[in-house]
Amino acid sequence: MNASHLRTRREFLVSLVFLAAVAAVPLFVTSGYLLGIVIVAMYYALLAIAWNLLAGYTGQFSLAPTAFAMIGAYGTGMASYHFGLPPAVGVPIAILVSAVIGMGLGRIVVPLRGPYLALTTIAFAEIVRHVARNAHEYTRGDFGMSVPLISSDRVMAFYLMLALLVAVQVGLYFLLRSHAGLYLQAIRDDETAAAGRGINVIFWKTVAFTVSGAICGFAGAMYVHFSGLASPDIGHIFETGLVLASVVIGGIGTMIGPLVGGFIVQFAAEGFREFGLRHMLVFAAMVILFVRFFRQGLWGLVKNAWDRLFGQGAARPARQVKEAGE
């Protein structure tokens, strides 16, 4: 447990440094285009962190993170479109709605594991998307619904999104350090054993789903107030793929991996525009290669490189622990 705490703490501190670097970006970059890219990167990072809480720390491989982002997006979008409510009211509504739906879905899928869980959540995500596309009276259909901007000042939008990202990262750190965090990881490592030790598996799995759903909903709501449009594309299955890719490229089950992964995926998607028409092609190939050959993610690579260069003495016990675990 101590090792786990230590590890979490180290990753958390690294992530704070990373976030501090991000916070300094507007000091050097004034281009709205580039700030926009970083804002979207923060959105993906938030979804990746929320999904990592479920998949990486609790072992629940959900395929619905972007569905919750879409619920948040339409929550505040519809509040604004139909009732003229400002973001200050719409965003909390969006969080509440996505948390409640997250709780419901989480409670329902408690007994499901592996592929069954993946398929149930993807079915849920598709249902949400189909409703958003076809309930035209409420959602304006497949083209989506205009949403007022939270701030026409891009630097302002940037710091609002960053504040959310920092808050989520700090909150997650304290969650993981608390008993709750230990329970979640115990459930991931061995559900039966965890139940045997008196951990309320149903309760904590549902909590993970609720928190993850709320974060995604919050992120989705903030995102549409930045982009100005709530559309069903937010929940497209490809978007889910980008979130998974972020976590896997960064390093699953770590505090820093999803954060950095979200940035990498968004920057790569933008950067590959340079390849002209082929940017999606290049990006897909990169996802395959990464997952095939660098499965521990970038964080794992960095860690291994470090161990090899400086930490031989310390690296050995690590390997032993792993083997013992299997």
Binding site: Y116, L244, R292
Partner: protein, 296 residues
């Protein structure tokens, strides 16, 4: 009369669903993971048929056969390059294998869709129908000529595939690996070859399904996405790993959709399947014909 017609139309659509589902269920049977690029076998089959029949003008049986070959070949290559580590490399690879399978096949799906868009262009291709008869009429029931012929052909192929899996020497090996890969390899079964065979079979069937549907659906880069998602539903409905279940699940889904669209909502036609999937997983997770418990 309308009821009978809805059933008939649903059953025909169900045959194509079943051809997709049977391959997916076999893959699930031997690997216990979700394979996301199944729709792209369908897409590849659709393009192959349309290009060979419409552009090159070759006879339709040749076009159909080429679609099967190309689909099977693609699936085997994918198996060799991306799927094999799942069962060859133990240890580290046992962790996160669900995640690996989903992400890598998802990336593959994205790659193939964009490759098709890049190299074949965005324009949909239309393939020639298998028959010149525009439609068959039985009393008040009308069904498109190609739809009926392709459906019957599909039914034949499904029967053949079922026989192959249940009765043939290779089929028995597939089932042995599905039950216990380790045990099967001890008993002298070449599990690599069986895996390759399963991918070949499933890729070929999905491609054939795509080829048969080209005159109705048109070949375009993302044509396989809806059928792929449907085939997940079928696999769960029929019970993961059960070929008979996949066939019956496909037929049931086809008929349910037909009625749902007609009596409930046209726009939500493709949504019913997902509601059915969630209902089945919650009420009867082993599906109609599955024997396995829900924990894998």
């Amino acid at each position: 009369m309308m009821t009978l017609e809805l059933i008939l139309q649903g059953l025909v659509m169900g045959v194509f669903y079943a051809m997709m589902g049977i391959g997916l269920t076999l893959i699930f049977g031997i690997l216990k993971v979700v394979y996301f690029a199944h729709g792209e076998s369908f897409m590849v089959g659709a393009y192959t048929y349309a290009l060979i029949a419409a552009l090159l003008g070759l006879p339709l049986p040749i076009a159909l056969a080429s679609a099967v070959v190309v689909g099977a070949l693609l699936a085997v290559i994918v198996e060799r390059l991306l799927i094999r580590p799942l069962y060859e490399k133990f240890g580290d690879w046992q962790q996160m294998r669900d995640e690996y399978a989903i992400i890598v096949t998802f990336g593959l799906s994205l790659f193939l869709i964009n490759a098709a868009n890049q190299f074949l262009g965005p324009y949909p291709y239309h393939g020639p129908a298998l028959t010149d008869i525009a439609r068959f009429q039985f009393g008040d029931i009308i069904i498109g000529g190609h739809r009926l012929v392709a459906g019957l052909l599909g039914l034949l192929i499904l029967g053949g595939a079922l026989w192959f899996i249940q009765r043939s020497f290779w089929g028995k090996q597939i089932r042995a690996v599905a039950q216990n890969r380790f045990g099967a390899s001890i008993a002298g079964i070449d599990t690599r070859r069986v895996s390759a065979l399963v991918f070949m079979l499933s890729g070929g069937l999905a491609a054939l399904s795509g080829a048969l549907l080209v005159p109705l659906f048109h070949a375009q880069p993302d044509v396989g996405m809806v059928p792929a998602l449907k085939s997940f539903v079928i696999v769960v409905l029929g019970g993961m790993g059960s070929p008979i279940g996949a066939i019956i699940g496909g037929l049931i889904l086809g008929v349910l959709e037909s009625f749902g669209a007609f009596y409930v909502s046209y726009a939500y036609r493709d949504t019913f399947a997902f509601v059915i999937l969630i209902a089945v997983l919650l009420l009867r997770p082993q599906g109609l014909f599955g024997e396995r418990a829900r924990e894998v």
